[in-house]
Symmetry: C2
Subunit: 218 residues, 2 copies
DNA sequence: AATTGTGAAGCATTTCACAGCT
DNA sequence: AGCTGTGAAATGCTTCACAATT
């Protein structure tokens, strides 16, 4: 047995709780109920309680959750309390934007290395991080203890990048390339595919209710 | 009754099928089986058959699916066959990258308008599309028949942008801002939150297995 | 009195297994 | 003979309802 059966969907909600808790903490609210968290996050109070209960009993019955304490606990659960290092591969349009965004906003998940094959880019910096050639990827990731890889290269090169990242010790990959990565057991891949998002969104538009099947009335 | 009960997850797989079908078509493969599609997409053959069956019987028993026909059918289902117009709000780092990416890759979902509040940006172009002020948003979206809105502004402005897009007739929104949008019934919102993705990814890393609970062995 | 934590019920989605076509 | 289309079973996630606790 490997994992204690916690749904991925629950893990994805934890950062939302973290964000809202920080807002409460900034407003100097010491205690919140699951109902208040639900109000702000859009999830149901039961779901929030269940998500938190997967990891232990963090609240006080009849009272609620201590904002500062819960915030720290969630940080710990996600492994953010010590800081996590990430490497970005691909400094094109999207990669560049991601680097600027991430480096300016995130302190807990930090991009410590950027790689790109374009000789014109190698040696230049993005917000203080120097762009290096892929040949250095494995060694730099190993040396720096990089845990997360971000792939922002064309689909044709995505698999090769993933292989390098994994050789460098990366255990989780955020993949923006429109490609299905093959990775060994134990490596987690999260895909974000803009084409899929945009094309599937079209379905929820009246444009998809084709003219010739106007059967189902309102 | 509104929707014929098709899972959102199934809708999200359709663009993947579309992409792989185009690859087969480019390789002049006229017929594919669900097993072959499974091989390339990573989804199971049964799931693929079930997904397609939600919309009708597109295959031939004993044979497989006609690549060209199925590709056209999926395009039609998603509403991509006529082309879908999208508007981007926010031309900062991320918005700019999204615009360049989307305008260069997508023909079926086309960004026809870009809006930003920054006076320095208004009037400039991204790949041939002029950046306009938010004051023109509602009218331009109405006039152009924009169906999809893409929000790439700071969280504090996201709700206001959503309201404008909806006033402009947009029915589906791709939201990159870290904010929970409140939208009327019938408007579909898809969130992509980089912070959530990165922070949740950290969980799948050995960094999250905290030192003090090294109980569960391999 | 109020709110958490949780087994059980309820839904939704995926997988199975096979009948039905070609 | 082979592969699709589909009810039924299995699985996984969410909601419910309430006991436990402060």
């Amino acid at each position: 047995m490997r994992k204690p059966k916690i749904p991925d969907a629950a893990i994805k909600r934890l950062p939302v709780y973290l964000r809202v808790l920080e807002e409460f903490r900034a407003a100097e609210v010491p205690i919140v109920s699951s109902a208040e968290l639900a109000e702000r996050t859009g999830f149901s109070p039961e779901q929030i309680r269940k998500d938190l209960a997967y990891f232990g009993a963090f609240g006080t019955r009849g009272v609620g959750y201590d904002t500062a304490l819960l915030s720290r606990r969630i940080s710990r659960i996600l492994g953010l309390d010590q800081g996590v290092k990430a490497a970005l591969v691909g400094a094109g349009n999207l990669g560049h934007a991601l680097a600027r965004y991430s480096l300016s906003k995130h302190k807990d998940v930090r991009i410590v290395a950027i790689f790109d094959a374009d000789p014109a880019k190698i040696g230049t910096e993005i917000m203080g991080v120097t762009i290096r050639p892929p040949s250095e990827l494995v060694e730099v990731c190993r040396r720096e203890g990089v845990r997360i890889g971000i792939i922002a290269v064309p689909a044709s090169e995505a698999q090769a990048c993933a292989d390098l990242l994994i050789a460098g010790g990366v255990e989780a990959i955020l993949n923006f390339a429109p490609a299905k990565l093959k990775v060994p057991e134990g490596v987690f891949v999260q895909n974000i595919d803009l084409t899929i998002e945009l094309q599937s969104l079209a379905y929820y538009t009246s444009a998809s209710q084709s003219e010739d099947e106007v059967s189902r009335a309102e």
